[in-house]
């Protein structure tokens, strides 16, 4: 469970200090799906970075399962990301020289999983996203939707408790988008994931349990979805 208390994130742009998030209080329960909407530059990605331990708040406290992320050292945050948090990016962020299977395996490297364990878990993750037969393909040999499925497999292969998705369908056509969201929803339900999904797409946001809107660094919870 995430608990954010008075979280503020300021950026320095030259001599100016720009607030990205201001005084944010938020609780995200275990297994909850929170969709975050908002215009570009209003703090959505900053919130995701803070939740993903990729950045530290300027003020306030972020707790994950009772652990204050701000109190952890860098290597501890790295370990946390390796074991508990899965990321899905708008641009997929697959390593172009590695095959689909190797991209998925990359997420297991920090965990020190055995070679056999890597193969088994990678195959399982690719099967789960419907790409068991494309394991040896390079990203350039896959469609956008397939690449995002590989990215989802990479996020889930380590068995995280949290998945943070930053506009995962932003680069996909409508049909593919629906397929990806359906897949994410299925995996969320099956695995009891805590899913925080940033999206501009209201039709996607409506499928989440809660929808928050970021506006000038403030988050307003606007909707409790039927999924809740």
């Amino acid at each position: 469970m995430y608990k954010l208390t008075g979280v503020t994130k300021l950026y320095q742009k030259g001599r100016r200090t720009v607030p990205a998030i201001t005084g944010l209080d938020l609780v995200i329960g275990d297994g909850e799906w929170l969709a975050v909407q908002g215009r570009t530059g209003h703090g959505k990605s900053t919130l995701l970075n803070l939740l993903g331990a990729l950045d530290r708040p300027t003020e306030g406290k972020i707790e994950l399962d009772g652990t204050d992320l701000g109190a952890l050292r860098e290597h501890q945050l790295t370990g946390l990301r390796a074991s508990k948090i899965g990321f899905i990016f708008q641009t997929f962020n697959l390593i172009p020289t590695l095959s689909a299977a190797e991209n998925v395996e990359a997420a297991l490297i920090p965990l020190g999983v055995s070679r056999a364990g890597q193969r088994r878990r990678t195959a399982g993750a690719l099967d789960a996203v419907g790409l068991g037969n494309r394991a040896a393909h390079l990203p350039s040999e896959l469609s956008g939707g397939q690449q995002q499925r590989v990215a989802i497999a990479r996020a889930l292969v380590k068995g995280p408790t949290v998945v943070l998705a930053d506009e995962p369908t932003g680069n996909l056509d409508e049909d593919t988008r629906d397929g990806i969201i359906a897949l994410l929803e299925k995996l969320w339900r099956e695995r009891g994931l805590t899913l925080v999904l940033v999206t501009h797409d209201t039709s996607i946001a409506c499928r989440a349990q809660r929808v928050g809107v970021m506006n000038n660094g403030h988050l307003t919870i606007r909707q409790d979805s039927p999924n809740r």
């Binding site: 990729l54 946390l80 990359a106 997420a107």
Partner: protein, 491 residues
């Protein structure tokens, strides 16, 4: 496994850049190898020149000081040479012997104990040490006992000069000279025979110390049709040849070697200096315990023998002139600096390209950090790629270095070196020049660049260092990369 797969694929993806970096390093390393090989060749040539003057393994030589002017008339000018009437089988020549004089009628005559005869139809043979004053043989033992001296041996270098006057007074006298070294008969790591190889027969043994035996240089043996078992006459005394030896190519060895004791017995000085050479030598070869000890040994010997000339090989090397010296300067100065500059350029290019590559891959590294990869793991990946490029550069650079050395060996002209006259070499030159000149001595040496294991190791080390340096710059950039910033760049 994953590390190698990732590394291989990344290098393949950035093949062009990897080739540019590897070739840059190869160029720098190849130049270093070529210059080092050429330098080694020049050093080898210099060593050849120095060994021609000194003998292999010799760090320091001691020679007697220049004698007073009245002595030099004998050593420098063959006109004062005296000797016996005809070669004989006697083993005990007369002391101080007859002298050659001008008769009242203007002709040459030989006088011995007040009795003079016309020189026509006679050969006058005399064995003398040229130029330098003798050094007591006991000083050899004293030098050998010095701290930091590994070995020392004394040599009596002599010139056998024979003038044959034809029976017909109208004919011209014939001068025949050859050099004779009186050497220790036991094994010594230094001395004129230290680098010689026996091509026929054998070396001296300790049992030969007073025997009438000689070892002859192969060149002299060939030109005089001598072989093992032949006899050679030195100042009226017959010596049996027991061995033919070959010296290094660039050296100018003595013609004949005889046991030191026999040489001391045979040799005479001019009447002005009086008496026989007795228990003297005129050259001491000294080997220091290590190269670092040479200056100390030189000081110690100078202190022990303040009136003699103590010369170190290093100081002699600085006096070698000619195209060899020019080549040495070219290799050590221009070659070194060009190599350094090219290496710096190659390192800089490799570093800049690596940093640019890291900048382009910041999203990739940001993603890996988001996946939980530790910074050091990512740095290891980048360093691995740089190391691979460095190794490729080392391999290509070594190949280029071999090619460069081969080209130099093909196109380089033969080098000549001119060495100063204040050495044993000059003594031999006196003979070779007919005893009339004491000028500098020119030695022709081939330039043979050699790529040694040490040079190859240096090349590999440099290329790997260049690769790692480039990787270190990339690593520094990665270490400073914040994952949120890296991912924001993608967004």
């Amino acid at each position: 496994m994953f590390f190698l797969t990732y590394l291989r694929r990344e290098l393949r993806r950035r093949m062009r850049q990897a080739i540019v970096i590897a070739l840059g390093l190869a160029l720098g390393v190849g130049l270093v190898v070529t210059v080092a090989a050429a330098s080694a060749g020049v050093n080898k040539a210099q060593s050849g020149v120095l060994s021609a003057l000194y003998g292999v393994g010799t760090d320091i030589t001691v020679t007697g000081n220049t004698p007073p002017a009245h002595y030099s008339s004998c050593a420098r000018q063959p006109c004062s040479i005296g000797g016996g009437k005809q070669p004989s089988t006697s083993t005990q020549p007369s002391t101080n012997g007859p002298t050659l004089q001008i008769s009242p009628s203007g002709g040459a005559q030989i006088c011995d104990n007040g009795h003079c005869v016309n020189a026509a139809g006679h050969t006058y043979d005399r064995l003398v040490p040229p130029y330098q004053e003798p050094v007591s043989a006991s000083t050899v033992a004293a030098v050998a006992r010095l701290h930091d001296v590994a070995a020392a041996t004394g040599v009596l270098t002599l010139v056998d000069s024979a003038i044959t006057y034809p029976a017909n007074p109208a004919g011209s006298p014939q001068l025949a000279t050859f050099t004779v070294d009186g050497v220790a008969t036991g094994h010594t790591p230094v001395g004129p025979l230290a680098d010689a190889t026996v091509s026929s027969g054998r070396f001296f043994t300790a049992a030969d110390s007073h025997a009438g035996v000689a070892v002859v240089d192969s060149g002299y043996a060939a030109s005089n049709n001598l072989r093992v078992g032949s006899a050679i006459t030195i100042r009226q005394v017959r010596f049996t040849i027991i061995g033919i030896v070959t010296q290094p190519q660039s050296s100018s060895p003595p013609d004949v070697y005889i046991p030191l004791a026999r040489a001391q017995t045979l040799a005479t000085l001019t009447k002005d200096l009086g008496g026989s050479v007795g228990n003297s030598v005129n050259l001491i070869y000294v080997a220091a315990a290590s190269a670092a000890d040479i200056p100390a040994v030189q000081r110690e010997v100078s202190a022990l023998l303040p009136h003699d000339i103590v010369t170190a090989a290093g100081s002699l090397a600085s006096q070698v002139t000619g195209s060899l010296s020019d080549a040495a300067k070219l290799a050590s100065d221009l070659g070194r600096w060009v190599s350094v500059l090219v290496l710096i350029a190659a390192f800089a290019v490799a570093s800049l390209l690596t940093m640019a590559a890291v900048a382009r891959r910041s999203a990739e590294f940001g993603t890996l950090k988001a996946l939980g990869w530790r910074t050091r793991r990512i740095i290891a990946q980048v360093l691995g790629e740089s190391l691979a490029m460095g190794i490729a550069g080392a391999a290509a650079g070594t190949g280029l270095g071999f090619a460069g050395a081969a080209i130099i060996a093909t196109v380089a002209p033969t080098l000549s070196a001119t060495a100063p006259s204040s050495t044993i070499g000059s003594m031999q030159q006196v003979v070779q020049a007919g005893g009339t000149a004491l000028g500098n001595r020119a030695v022709v040496v081939p330039l043979s660049p050699s790529v040694t294991i040490g040079v190859i190791s240096l090349a590999v080390l440099l290329a790997v260092a260049g690769g790692l340096l480039a990787g270190a710059f990339g690593a520094w950039r990665i270490a400073r990369l914040r994952p949120a910033d890296a991912l924001a760049q993608v967004a």
